[in-house]
Amino acid sequence: MSKTTKKRIPVAGHGHKRSIMEVARVIRSKNSGPYELTLDIIFRSCEDYEMCKSRAIVNPALISKLYKIPESDILGIIWFEPAHAVKITIRRWIASGDPGETDIYGAQQHAPLLGIEFDA
């Protein structure tokens, strides 16, 4: 596994990091039923997809850290070749519409993914 997920900020002059934004054309979140939140990253090209997949840029430890959830709350991380995409499905913080709800459709929970970086 790459050391990307452990070092948060690159050292000055050592900044050979790339942003997920350079390789993804879609990053989104949405309910998958009232009890699951599903996150999609669709890559710009087959090469970007293969590179990120082979290096496991998206992995359970990273998702756990970004969403402050235990890995047991991750239902699955599935790499989907036909769409050059990776799908991450996690337990919803509460069932959709329950007291304390902030996002009924789950459509605005993608922002933590925008900050993903990996070694260039």
Partner: protein, 467 residues
């Protein structure tokens, strides 16, 4: 009339017109006409979703607009009846329980009358008797979906409405009974598009996968739209998606990517009685902005499972919306709000532990709550929504009102703006949100008969109905 029962004459193609992603979202008339010119064998539409949350199933209300549902249905029914092809409407009224079905049924009656239409219609309610669910639970035939808690008898008994998401079989049976128009309660979305061709002998895997895409109309095209028509053409070993507007095209990527949408596993899409398996699906570009899909399979499950959806009422809600632009208050907001709650609760005579007071603080963590990664970042202004959720509407009104007035004049430490802490955009400042619901059931139930739903047939003749 429709060409029902002509299996010997089964044409090699079955064309399905999907006008819109959700009945009531609308579509351009030109796209619809272009679709009808392609002589479809079926017009299908899905009207429902659990996405808007538990309220709509609980309150018996549609999340779509009546005038626009009528507008969409008028095009579909008049064109479908004139062409002599089936029109299938699933998940009537959004949530597909009796009040939703009745609502949509009334709209169809109006359309039939206003346009003097003649057709036979099947109405299929999706509500289930609580006794049947309780019996199935007792026999261990009800199981929760991922992350859903086990259901108790109390969850079932307290449910306001329980619907069962039907598969293709009841729609096929309705066609066997001679129906041209099928109005179904809660229904597996692809079934509205797949039931008719499967009944005519087309491949289930291809029909279901095509239905899975057509139920979202042009959302799978590029640029995507939930309010534009598309045509799906099923053949013996593939299906072809075709845009009906020059504004958009299907691409292999847009089509494949749609399989991700709102689903937890893009390779396996479970539904009533089985799952669509896309492991070997291929997506090929054709001229004219079309895409051909091959290799989609259908795998039946051992045992036939239907999804139950139920909600129960948890109380009544009142909210108040306000803003603050005071930097001192903003810097202390995390301590001020709990202090205000403590002061309010101290003043209440008989505070109920079930009465919940919540603050949504936009500009801080209003969208992501505890998952917000930028916990300490705050804006120069905040929106605070006070939410009171209580066992009665009166109690919610009181809790919201007293919290609002207390927060407005709360003398927090270091305050220099002593005239009022909140900026209200509206008068009245407090809004009754009414009854509030929670999902009580989101479970699979094993059934012996996929056609467990009653089917009521009505004959319309020149707009007049005879049962």
């Amino acid at each position: 009339m429709q060409n029902e029962g002509n299996d010997d004459e089964m044409s090699k193609e079955f064309r399905v017109l999907s006008p819109t992603a959700i009945l009531g979202y609308g579509f351009p008339e030109a796209s619809f006409r272009r679709g009808m010119e392609r002589k479809p064998h079926l017009i299908g539409v899905d009207a429902g979703s659990t996405d808007p949350g538990p309220y709509y199933l609980g309150a018996g209300k549609s999340f779509t607009n009546r005038a626009f549902v009528k507008r969409d249905l008028t095009y579909m029914l008049t064109a479908g009846v004139e062409a002599g092809i089936p029109v299938v409407i699933g998940s009537a009224g959004g949530s597909g329980a009796k009040p939703h079905l009745d609502w949509c049924h009334e709209i169809i009656r109006e359309i039939a009358k206003e346009n003097s239409l003649s057709f036979k219609m099947a109405v299929i309610p999706a509500d289930i008797d609580k006794k049947i669910v309780l019996e199935a639970m007792a026999k261990g035939r009800v199981k929760p979906l991922s992350f859903v808690p086990e259901a108790t008898a109390k969850d079932v008994e307290e449910s306001v409405h329980i619907v069962v998401q039907m598969g293709c079989e009841p729609i096929m049976k309705a066609l066997d009974m001679g129906a041209q128009v099928v109005l179904a309660g809660r229904c597996y979305d692809p079934a509205c598009f797949a039931a008719v061709p499967i009944r005519q002998g087309f491949d289930t895997g291809l029909a279901m996968h095509m239905g899975k895409i057509l139920e979202c109309a042009a959302i799978a095209a590029s640029p995507g739209s939930g309010a534009d028509c598309v045509l799906g053409t099923l053949t013996e070993n593939s299906f072809i998606l075709e845009p009906l507007s020059d504004k958009r095209v299907f691409t292999p990527m847009s089509t494949a990517a749609h399989t991700l949408y709102e689903k937890s596993d893009p390779y396996h899409l479970p539904g009533p009685g089985g799952a669509i398996d896309l492991t070997d699906a291929s997506f090929t570009e054709l001229p004219g902005g079309r895409v051909e899909v091959k290799g989609s399979r259908y795998e039946k499950t051992k045992g036939y499972f239907l999804k139950l959806e139920g909600v129960r009422r948890i109380g009544y809600r009142t909210i108040s919306i306000a803003g603050t632009r005071d930097p001192i208050m903003i810097s202390k907001i995390d301590t001020i709000l709990p202090q205000v709650e403590a002061q309010v609760r101290g003043m209440m005579k008989n505070p109920s532990p079930n009465d919940k007071l919540m603050f949504h603080v936009y500009g801080k963590n209003g969208v992501m709550g505890a998952m917000e990664p930028l916990g300490n970042a705050v804006s120069h202004e905040l929106c605070i929504i006070i939410e009171a959720l209580c066992t009665t509407q009166d109690a919610a009104d009181t809790l919201c009102s007293v919290t609002r007035s207390t927060l407005l004049h709360y003398g927090y430490e270091g305050r220099i703006a002593t005239a009022g802490n909140l900026a209200f955009p509206f008068s009245p400042s407090d809004v009754q949100m009414g009854a509030t619901y929670t999902f009580s059931l989101y479970h699979l139930m094993e059934v012996a008969d996929p056609c467990m739903f009653p089917i009521n047939i009505e004959q319309y003749t020149n707009g007049e109905v005879r049962k």
